[in-house]
Amino acid sequence: MGKVKLWIDGQEVEVPEGTTVLKAAEEAGIHIPTLCYHPLLRPSGNCRMCAVEIEGYRGLPASCSTPVAEGMVVRTNTDRVRDFRQETLRAILRDHPRECIACPKNQSCELQELIAYVGIEVPYEAPTEKRFEVKDGGPFFRRDYNLCVRCGRCVRICNEVRGVGAIVFKEVEGRQEVGTPLDRPLEEVGCQFCAACVDACPTGALTDKIPKWRAEAREREDSFCPEISDIVLSLYDRYRERESKSSICPYCGVGCRLVFEVQDGEIIRTVPDPSGPANKGLDCVKGRFGISEFVHSPDRLKTPLIRKNGSLEETSWDEALEAVAKQLSKYKPDEVAVISSAKCTNEENYVIQKFARAVLKTNSVDHCARL
């Protein structure tokens, strides 16, 4: 593929043919603000936030959907562009509630970042529009379309990337709103609960349901002054330390790399890792919502058990291991068998088969590959 040379803000840039102006600027280290743009999606050019000036082009084309051309001269930061961005953002914000302080996305919200970058004042006025009811996203997430900015990322990711098409744009009282066909529950429209929509949402419109600790804290808060519970919890959450760690999903054979958000030794959320070579930013309902609860289940085995007088009783590691070693030593090689697991690591399977072969002297070692 041929290379194309162009100028962005006076800087010479060379990129492959077919690259968009937005990508070319990114490569040159020039930031252009975006909203409806998402790296996993085809550009749609509908929010106009990424508008730029291009010599010889009419108006202000959207940089996310305009391909580069030889000799193109692009300006991303002129008065005209800045004015246009500010006006566009004001229009987007016109019916956005001013409730940031209680919003679960507060301080991780793309809209807030955009406001800071584009540089506008947001007047604190009470929302005049009547509020839509907050909807469930099955048992896993909530959908507060009052906070929706109609960027379309959720609808597009569900269609384009996941190929599911469970959610659509529709007209409600003369406005474009996101929803399901005929307002049916997500369970009935083919939703897979992969939460790609939640992860793509730039605002607090789509968020995970409150984690367990918040449910408990919320109950306490509500007993004092329920009107400010959201605010208090949101502020408290912000000051709790949160670590992000990376690991591999324990379910199917795809090997999705996930980011685990951990607070006080507890996994509070898992999200797909965009750098995972097998999943590239995708996951499914089991990886997204099905890990923390089993890892931290109160049913987990925590102590070795040994059968005494017919029932299993708690014991020490020392006693349990001694009992196993002593008993297993009694049998001839063809009287013992070892069953390993497709849930164990390579290193563990290696050790287990070595134990069967080198210590118990049997090749009767197998696992559930067949099931």
Partner: protein, 527 residues
């Protein structure tokens, strides 16, 4: 998989047979759907109308257990229409003429009769697979869980070699593995016939190699017992003690009622797991294990990719990583060679004795992931297998004859039961049944029954029915749907309250020893 997950996006035609990948490997399902949105053709062959069907160019709804007929029928069409890749067959394969002769038995009329699929549809699908290259073939347990599963797999390989769809981007024979480290457990020799890296235990030189590496004498040279054989041997009193790590046979094995009696015969059963499982009542010692989130090490995914991971949270109570526990037992039995103090040290030893993992070292895995075979530290890994030659040299065409399910429906048991998996649960449910949200969406077992069959039995949606096979009976609610054709009923096996494996047939493939989970005869009784 011979190819990578990403590679599926490069295919012009995807043949998905015996895999409901959108439910069982949702991220691969997404890749398939995306490939179709970008213009690829999709052929779905499945007894059930799975979600992928709505994206398919052709849907071949063959009867459970008739995969050999379908695949050989497609091969016959390709040869008859002269669409086979002569150059590839000539240069890379052998035994084509014998194979071609075996196709004589698979006329389209015969194949259509056996599979229940319209002959013209089979013909068109075969032509599409042969002409829209590169073509990728995906399969899963729908191919392997049969008494003739090995032949089914050979039939998929025949089809791919016939059209030259091997060893290039966007092609391949791609089994999709169901468990996060089932590939790695096989690679590491948790199998009765091979050491790590598929090195045969019957080979004297290889035994010598491992004896030297491990500092032991007299490694056993006889092939050991597979899981189903172990249960037979426990039943006959031959096996007296079992060390069971991270498995739940009391829900996952076929013919469960029988299995429960078998477990009681054991003199000594050690269970090492993260949860109390349905197998626990038979245990003599129970050892608490750390979950994946509490340990480090490597997993190998379905595309042979080895990935390192670190712990994210501390283990609960006194739970310990499985490798530590096994090493402790070995040391207390007086064994040497189990003085590992970290998973890194174990991986170092794996690198030394496993040629295909030779270059997949701890150091490299901190920076990247690697696909085996990767024999040395300067080897980049192998995303696509068989690019120049097959492992055995030439690709061997295997002549096949038709075999159906071992147990066919009859007057007493008129329905075929096939087992499936839900998007919202995993295997025996040990993990997913602990998750509130997943249980809200799907909290109990259903028996999927065709509307015509339901009408014949006088059933409504939600009626509780008894499903009875020659081996046992379970109860579940009826879900009336035309997802499977008349005469075929479907159940999952995630719910120990309705343990479907009480019903399934332990008859297994003679080579792979995989039980026939995908077809057994049952009757439905209204309660």
């Amino acid at each position: 998989m011979t190819n990578t997950i990403e590679d599926i996006g490069e295919a012009s035609c995807i043949l998905a047979i015996g895999t409901n990948t959108t439910d069982t490997h949702p991220v691969i399902g997404t890749r398939v759907r995306r490939a179709v949105l970008n213009g690829a053709h999709l052929i779905v062959a499945n007894p059930r109308r799975i979600p992928l069907v709505k994206h398919a160019t052709y849907f071949l709804q063959h009867r459970p257990g008739t995969d050999i007929a379908l695949l050989m029928g497609m091969a016959r069409v390709i040869v008859d229409e002269d669409l086979h890749d002569r150059e590839f067959i000539e240069s890379r394969c052998e035994n084509f003429e014998e194979f071609k002769k075996s196709l004589d038995a698979f006329s389209l009329d015969f194949v259509s009769e056996v599979t229940g699929v319209n002959a013209e549809l089979i013909r068109r699908a075969a032509i599409l697979y042969a002409t829209h290259k590169p073509s990728s073939l995906l399969y899963a347990m729908g191919i392997t869980q049969h008494t003739h599963g090995t032949d089914n797999v050979l039939a998929t390989a025949n089809l791919a070699m016939l059209t030259g769809n091997i060893g290039k981007r966007g092609t391949g024979v791609n089994p999709l593995r169901g468990q996060n480290n089932v590939q790695g457990a096989c690679d590491m020799g948790a199998l009765p016939n091979v050491f790590p890296g598929y090195q045969a235990v019957v080979d004297e030189n290889l035994r010598k190699k491992f004896e030297d590496a491990w500092g032991v004498d007299n490694l056993p040279g006889e092939i050991g017992l597979t899981l189903p054989q172990m249960f037979e041997a426990i039943n006959s009193g031959k096996i007296k003690a079992v060390y069971l790590v991270g498995e739940n046979p009391a829900v996952s094995e076929p013919n469960l009622e029988h299995l429960k009696n078998v477990f009681q015969k054991l003199e000594f059963l050690v269970i090492q797991d993260i949860f109390p499982t349905e197998s626990m009542p038979y245990a003599h010692v129970v050892l608490p294990a750390a979950s994946f989130a509490e340990k480090d090490g490597t997993f190998t995914n379905t595309e042979r990719r080895v990935q390192w991971f670190d712990p994210v949270v501390p283990a609960p109570g006194q739970a310990k990583p499985d490798w530590w526990v096994t090493c402790e037992i070995a040391k207390r039995m007086g064994a040497s060679g189990f003085d590992f103090t970290s998973t890194k040290e174990i991986l170092d030893e794996i690198n030394k004795v496993t040629p295909s993992y030779g270059g997949i070292t701890y150091g490299r895995l901190q920076m990247t992931t690697l696909q085996w075979p990767c024999p040395s530290t300067d080897h980049p890994g192998t995303p696509i297998l068989h690019t120049q030659a097959f492992t055995r040299g030439k690709g061997h065409f295997e002549p096949l004859t038709y075999k159906g399910p071992q147990e066919m429906p009859d007057e007493e048991f008129p329905f075929v039961l096939t087992t499936a998996r839900s998007l919202f649960h995993f295997h025996t449910g040990t993990m997913t049944r602990k998750v509130t949200g997943l249980n809200i969406i799907r909290g109990e077992e259903y028996v999927e029954i065709h509307p015509d069959d339901a009408a014949g039995l006088g059933l409504k949606d939600g009626d509780v029915v008894r499903v009875v096979s020659r081996r046992g009976a379970v109860e579940a609610k009826a879900l009336i749907t035309d997802r499977a054709p008349k005469g075929v009923v479907t159940m999952d096996f995630h719910f120990s309250e309705s343990p479907v494996n009480v019903l399934t047939n332990p008859a297994h493939d003679p080579v792979s020893r995989i039980p026939e989970y995908k077809a057994c005869a049952v009757r439905i009784e209204k309660r």
